[in-house]
């Protein structure tokens, strides 16, 4: 007989340790354990078999990996935490004994820990750190807006504000912002740095409701870690674009609530002030290092002589490139240094031009922000996409130009219009000055737009038509740029319109044919042809089938109603709009009769399902269930849309969308830029 194996000495039990055991092993309090877990990124594990791990008990316990806890055992921060405990005891004793000098000297030597080594340990590479920036940024941006209370220290708030501003500056300089979304929770931003998408949310700048059941000790521990992380990331990012870190703060401007402009960025190469990015945005004063880099890459590209000439012979791309591209756009430089793997030069170049197009969406646009629009967001977004921006003095100091600057092209405004809007076309500025005292002055050559236009432009990656976005107009819906609709999911028609527009544009650009802007009208007889659900659009043959079927059904209905065929024909001719759809809606929708072949295929499938084994059948049913649920949700939305459309009595805008791919009627006015 072999040696008797004791319970709990082998197998899964030895891999896990409960929380209480861990605390006991580390000899710290629960609060310190929590803190340590947060800082070191140690999280509980769910054992596969709870009963085995719990030595027979399945009580809900928190388990950690034993090795994780072993790993905590040698943590310098753990020792510091112990020292802090001792320090607190000594200090309280000294204070209780009224030994002030002793207390003071103790306080001066308060044990403090740094998290540098933890950052390095948790994020071995820079990319790892970037990957985890989402939560860090969201948290810092939140704390940057919070008031300092007894729970939230003021220096934390200050640090957060500073870190956020630094990070935003980097985003603006590197033009790495990609998507923006105005949600009811706050504003989502998505940036792309080194191929990593970083998404964070910034609350609207109102005083935050601080709930009672939030444990700020947990939050502040996280914040401690995140501050350090963002500090190091910022340093790395700044040093990669040859900027001095930390940037200096212009105290006067900062006091004047200048926000982002209070920071003075300096290049490490030449020590002159690059300063307020306005100059830099023009592309005239790009840091020298970057220029040098460009030259280098240019050389490198030149060495690829034959390939490059080929491409240049190919031709149109060079023309399509932005006007300021004497040298290669910035993003290309970044790309060549970052990733050496290039799939094919053509696709790569197309991608890059697209990207640089996005990065310079607002190039040449000069924005003025009225005092009621959220400057903290708009300034950042506009400058991150190459625009210039100025703002009202009441919303902060440091505006680079005044409201009456003639360069201003877009005036972002978000307030109801009191009086005449269009009068400005005729009235000279001198005349309107009289009215200026009552209502804000209006300028001729500007577009007065609502803030959503800026965000929609960013998400559409081009300047959108301004109609619908003017001050006082009802805005089109603002859609999330983060949604990638899978098959069978509901896509709102606005998104479909957008995508079809893009396709058209692509086609149009290839043909390089300018279509006049007033080819927008949609003829009515086309409209009634396909008034059907949006999902089956491509299958032309099937559609024809269905139409015939529908026609037949309608005729049958007419026959049942006692109409003769000739009468029926007359009726059809009289009101083509109403007769047909009604026939369809009654007949076609519920029972779309499948063809014989289809029916056979369906039957064969049904028979085959009979022969599935139990396991497969279960899995299959599960998948089908999931699909059905999704489908149901999508259908619900479709149905809602349909009822809404009926209520409003508007002609289905789907038609526009459906017609859009057709080469004849193209709403090309959408495409025209309104710069």
């Amino acid at each position: 007989m072999g040696k008797k194996i004791k319970k709990g000495e082998k197998g899964a039990v030895t891999n896990y340790i409960t929380r209480a055991q861990a605390v006991k092993k580390l000899q710290i309090s629960l609060a310190h354990f929590r803190r340590l877990c947060i800082l070191k990124g140690v999280y509980p594990r769910e054992p596969r078999n709870k009963k085995k791990v719990g030595k027979g008990s399945t009580a809900p316990r928190t388990y950690y990996y034993r090795k994780d806890i072993q790993f905590l055992l040698h943590e310098p921060v753990l020792h510091k935490l112990r020292e802090q405990k001792i320090f607190a005891r000594k200090l309280s004793k000294a204070i209780a004994k009224r030994e002030w000098t002793k207390a003071k000297s103790l306080e001066d030597n308060r044990p403090e820990y740094t998290l540098d080594h933890i950052i390095k340990e948790r994020y071995p590479t820079f990319v790892d750190a970037l990957r985890d920036m989402d939560d860090a940024l969201s948290m810092t941006f939140l704390f940057a807006t919070l008031p300092a209370t007894d729970k939230i220290k003021s220096e934390h708030v200050r640090t957060c504000q500073r870190l956020c501003a630094e990070f935003q500056h980097y985003i603006m300089i590197s033009r790495s912002l990609r998507k923006v979304f105005l949600s009811i929770k706050g504003i989502y931003y998505q940036a792309e740095i080194k191929g990593q998408t970083i998404t964070w949310i910034v609350p609207f700048q109102f005083s935050q409701h601080v709930p009672n059941d939030v444990d700020f000790r947990v939050m502040s521990t996280f914040l401690e870690l995140y501050e350090t992380l963002i500090g190091f990331v910022n340093y790395k990012l700044y040093s990669e674009v040859n900027l001095v870190y930390p940037p200096k703060v212009d105290a006067d401007r900062d006091a004047g609530a200048a926000g982002l402009t209070a920071y003075i960025l300096e290049s490490t190469v030449e020590k002159d002030i690059v300063s307020t990015l306005v100059a830099q945005v023009d592309g005239t004063s790009v840091p020298r290092a970057e220029k040098a880099q460009r030259k280098q890459t240019q050389k490198r590209l030149a060495s690829l002589a034959d390939k490059l000439t080929e491409i240049e012979d190919d031709g149109e791309d060079a023309e399509a490139a932005p006007a300021d591209d004497e040298d290669i756009p910035r993003a290309i430089v970044a790309a060549t240094t970052d990733e050496e793997v290039v799939p094919t030069l053509d696709t790569w170049k197309a991608k890059e031009t697209e990207l640089s197009g996005l990065q310079n969406v607002f190039k040449g646009c000069v924005f003025w922000l009225a005092r009621e629009v959220p400057r903290y967001s708009l300034e950042f977004v506009i400058r991150a996409f190459g625009g210039e921006v100025g703002w009202d003095a009441s919303s902060g100091a440091g505006s680079p130009f005044a409201e009456d600057d003639t360069r201003i092209t877009h005036h972002i405004i978000d307030r109801p219009i009191q009086s005449t809007i269009t009068s400005t076309e005729t009235v000279a500025s001198s005349d309107s000055s009289a009215a200026a005292s009552a209502t804000p002055q209006r300028f001729d050559r500007r577009e007065y737009l609502q803030p959503q236009w800026v965000y929609d432009c960013v998400n559409a990656r081009k300047l959108l038509r301004t109609s619908g976005y003017h001050a006082g107009e009802t805005l089109p819906p603002h859609l999330s740029p983060f949604v990638n609709a899978g098959e069978g999911e509901y896509v709102p028609e606005e998104a479909m319109a957008m995508s079809s527009d893009n396709e058209q544009e692509a086609v149009g650009e290839k043909e390089s044919s300018e279509v006049p802007a007033d080819a927008m009208e949609v003829d009515d007889d086309e409209e009634e042809v396909d008034e059907e659900e949006e999902d089956d659009e491509d299958d032309v043959a099937e559609e024809a089938d269905e139409d015939e079927e529908a026609l037949h059904q309608a005729e049958l209905a007419a026959e049942a109603a006692g109409l003769s065929f000739s009468e029926y024909l007359q009726q059809q001719a009289a009101n083509p709009n109403t007769a047909k759809p009604s026939g369809k809606k009654t007949a076609v929708k519920p029972a779309k009769k499948p063809t014989a072949a289809e029916a056979e295929v369906a039957e064969r499938k049904e028979l085959a399902i009979m022969m599935m084994n139990k396991k497969d059948k279960h899995l299959y049913n599960k998948i089908q269930f999931g699909k059905a649920r999704k489908e149901e949700a999508a259908n619900k939305l479709r149905q809602k849309k349909e009822t809404l459309r009926k209520q409003q009595g508007t002609p289905t805008p789907i038609q526009k969308k459906r017609e859009a791919p057709g080469p004849v009627k193209k709403p090309s006015a959408k495409k025209g830029k309104t710069a």
């Binding site: 947060i38 190091f232 819906p477 949604v483 028979l607 009979m610």
Partner: protein, 785 residues
């Protein structure tokens, strides 16, 4: 001993020289005392040594002293405090004692000060030598009080002596009288108090019962105590300390241990520690006198390129799971979503009614006309906090997302078109019955069909035309109908509750066949039942006339062209549910489940014999069947199918379909495969050569299976169910034993309406054609071709 000594050393009060004397060994202590007394005065040492060496008396003397010292030490061993007491008393005694009186003093031996004085003063020394010492009275009384106590009653309450004239006893045992003369009452007491000039400084001694007049010194002491001073006027709390452990090396060290080496060399550790600090100061890490920055802002922390020298892939181990990113917002989170995303009032209510964790999303979509009217989100901090909690409290598990195309799970089957022929379309519907058709049977030639229904009739149909040729009416619902499988007979068996009718059906076959059938019945009628048969059932020829029998059948309706044939009736005790024929048509078996041990009976026509093959009942029998080729008999009970060998009369196998309730049973024409249909929706295919467990169990019907059936010629089988469907399968059995049977579903026939939860009740293939006929609860029969 050791401990007390060390303590006395460290806390040595300078005035108490005795302590040091106590501390050392006798000889040593003497020497130390000398040394201390003379304070490194070498001359005194020499003078001291002289007498000890030269004088024998002096030597004696010293020996005496040593003895005393020993005593002292012994006392000191006990407790340190005792020694201290001594010393204090000594000092007190010193005050009082005159140098003249000292030889008479009791405690002179303890007083080392005295000794010292004597040593210092030469004259005294001389004196000591010449005067013979008085006898020493060692008083070993722990009570060191200097006053003599005369009253020796001890510690007893004084009240005991209240009635006596004395207060106690002297040491000699004589009573001590109370000093009450003249103090009889308080007035006298007061007067005497007034008279006594020392009254103010006298204290009443309770024990002695007398007033003690305090001396001047005692008064002084009282005053000092009241002031909070030392009681002793001469004690000086601020006496200069004596550095016992001084820098000056004494000739006689306190410890005899040699000096360790470390005393002579500088400490390396200290040097290192100091150099550490020095270096830090030089490098500027420590600025002496500089204050720490008060405000520990993060920006005092210096950031640096922490990833500067990172090696690319650092594996955190397979166990590490990175925190998942948060889900990105959908359209409905927009401040201005498309209108269809806005919840209706009902949806809002539903959302609010749910508990917070159950909600599919934690917000309600809302639409704002413009950006300025968007309020702050009140759950922002809460959501960030929840995320924090998720990050450090939630166990992380990698869940493999099944990325399977569901179509790939569906098995690839041969195209049914390749497996033709099989029944696929409804050809004929037979209407006429008014209730459920529980059973029907196609005659062996395949031209006619007889169907029995709950409306108590049996109808004869011509299969191809669908014409009802004959109708028989019985007293009870028809449970089962079966044609005799012999082609040379046209004999129909009908089960109507407890009766089994064997009817010769005229007019549907040739006259010879009809005659043969009639002859058979006639023959049976002539035979006599054996007693065993009679015990099991009653055989009787009920009617041979063309006219309808008076007992059981009512006059036939006009459409009956043919007259009803002669009829043989078997009557049982309990209702019969099922009847089946042996392939040759001579034997038939009936099932009456209620009849316990007689539930299965086998009857032989030609001999008019009924037998009970089983002595015991093995369960509720559902179906019985004869094997198509071999002498095997299948009995299906609720759970099992038992196969008996009729030749050896033994149980051959027991098939276990592992279901709850078997409904039907069919045997492949070759006899090696069996299908079993069950009320729990399953169909089990048994390969008898393979195992007693099913080769395949299929579950595709939504309701209980009522009947299963094999085609006698084609490789087809079918199942009929309460869900109204008849499923046709291609069931090919290969002669090669190594090949598994091929089972392919080829058609689902939606055959019958569901009436009262019952759908198809019976199905049977045509004996020659690839057709199937089904009967349903809706009172119709359907033929599919």
């Amino acid at each position: 001993m050791k401990r007390s000594r060390s303590k006395t050393r460290t806390t040595a009060a300078p005035s108490q020289n005795e302590d040091t004397a106590l501390a050392a060994t006798p000889l040593e202590s003497a020497l130390t005392a000398l040394a201390e007394a003379n304070d490194s005065d070498a001359a005194v040492h020499s003078s001291d040594q002289a007498p000890t060496v030269n004088d024998s008396d002096g030597l004696d003397e010293e020996e005496d002293e040593e003895d005393e010292d020993d005593d002292d030490e012994e006392e000191d061993d006990g407790d340190l405090e005792g020694a201290e007491d001594d010393s204090s008393e000594d000092s007190e005694a010193l005050d009082e004692i005159d140098p003249d009186e000292w030889p008479s003093s009791d405690d002179q031996e303890f007083d080392s000060d005295d000794e010292e004085e004597t040593f210092r003063d030469n004259s005294v020394k001389v004196l000591r030598r010449k005067v013979p010492l008085p006898e020493i009275d060692p008083v070993y009384d722990p009570d060191t009080s200097d006053e003599e106590t005369t009253n020796t009653i001890g510690n007893v309450p004084k009240e005991w002596y209240d009635d006596f004239p004395h207060v106690g006893y002297s040491i000699d045992g004589k009573p001590i009288m109370k000093g009450t003369e003249g103090k009889s009452d308080q007035l006298d007491e007061f007067l005497s108090l007034m008279d006594d000039p020392n009254a103010w400084r006298s204290v009443y001694d309770k024990i002695e019962d007398k007033d003690v007049v305090l001396t001047k010194e005692e008064l002084e002491m009282v005053k000092r105590i009241q002031r909070g001073d030392f009681p002793d006027a001469n004690s000086n709390p601020y006496e200069p300390t004596v550095e016992w452990f001084s820098s000056q090396t004494m000739v006689t060290p306190l410890s005899a241990a040699p000096e360790p080496k470390r005393r002579f060399i500088p400490s390396k550790w200290e040097a290192r520690r100091i150099m550490h600090i020095v270096r830090a100061i030089r490098q500027g890490r420590i600025v002496p006198g500089a204050k720490k920055p008060k405000n520990t802002d993060l920006h005092n922390q210096t950031f640096f390129d922490i990833w500067g020298d990172s090696i690319e892939p650092v594996d955190r181990g397979i166990m590490h799971i990175a925190a998942p990113k948060q889900a990105l917002p959908d359209h409905d989170e927009s401040y201005n979503p498309p209108e269809e995303y806005l919840p209706t009032e009902a949806e809002k209510q539903e959302w609010k009614a749910l508990d917070a964790p159950d909600r599919p999303r934690n917000y309600l979509p809302k639409k704002f006309d413009n950006l300025r009217s968007v309020p702050g989100y009140d759950r922002f901090i809460q959501e960030r906090f929840d995320r924090c909690l998720d990050l450090y409290l939630c166990p992380r598990v990698i869940k493999k997302k099944m990325n399977i195309d569901p179509e790939s799970l569906i098995p690839k089957l041969p195209n049914p078109r390749d497996l033709l022929p099989f029944p696929s379309a409804l050809a004929i519907t037979f209407k006429g019955h008014t209730a459920r058709i529980r059973s029907f049977s196609v005659d062996p030639t395949g031209q006619y069909m007889a169907s029995g229904s709950d409306d108590q009739t049996v109808r004869l149909w011509e299969l191809v035309s669908g014409r009802c040729m004959n109708t028989w009416t019985f007293d009870d619902a028809i449970a089962s109908v079966a044609w005799n499988p012999s082609k040379s007979l046209s004999l129909l068996s009908v089960v109507a509750r407890t009766k089994v009718h064997l009817i010769s059906v005229p007019g549907i076959a040739g006259p010879d066949i009809t005659a043969a059938t009639e002859a058979l019945i006639g023959h049976i009628a002539t035979l006599q039942s054996s007693p065993t048969t009679a015990a099991l059932c009653h055989w009787a020829k009920t009617s041979s006339s063309p006219a309808p029998s008076s007992s059981s059948s009512t006059p036939l309706p006009p459409p009956t062209r043919h007259s009803a044939g002669s009829r043989l009736t078997l009557t049982f005790d309990k209702p019969v549910t099922y009847l089946t024929w042996h392939r040759k048509g001579d034997y038939l078996s009936t099932v009456c489940p209620d009849a316990a041990t007689r539930s299965v009976l086998i009857h032989q026509l030609t001999k008019r014999v009924s037998q009970n093959p089983f002595k015991t009942a093995k369960g509720l029998v559902q179906r019985v069947t004869f094997h198509p080729t071999k002498p095997f008999f299948f009995v299906a009970t609720q759970r099992y199918v038992r196969v008996y060998n009729l030749a050896t009369q033994k149980l051959a196998t027991k098939l276990q379909p592992s279901t709850k309730w078997i409904s039907s049973l069919a045997i492949h024409p070759q006899g090696d495969n069996v299908i079993v249909g069950t009320y729990d929706k399953r169909l089990a295919w048994f390969d008898m050569d393979l195992s007693s467990k099913p080769y395949k169990t299929l579950r595709y019907h939504k309701q209980a299976i009522r009947n299963v059936s094999f085609h006698p010629r084609y490789p087809l089988f079918a199942s009929a169910s309460d869900d109204g469907n008849v499923n046709i399968f291609h069931g090919m059995v290969y002669s090669d034993l190594l090949m598994n049977p091929l089972i392919v579903p080829v058609k689902t026939l939606r055959a019958h309406q569901i009436v009262d939860g019952l759908g198809v009740l019976h199905c049977e293939f045509h004996p020659t054609q690839p057709w199937i006929i089904s009967s349903g609860a809706d009172g119709t029969l359907n033929l599919f071709s």
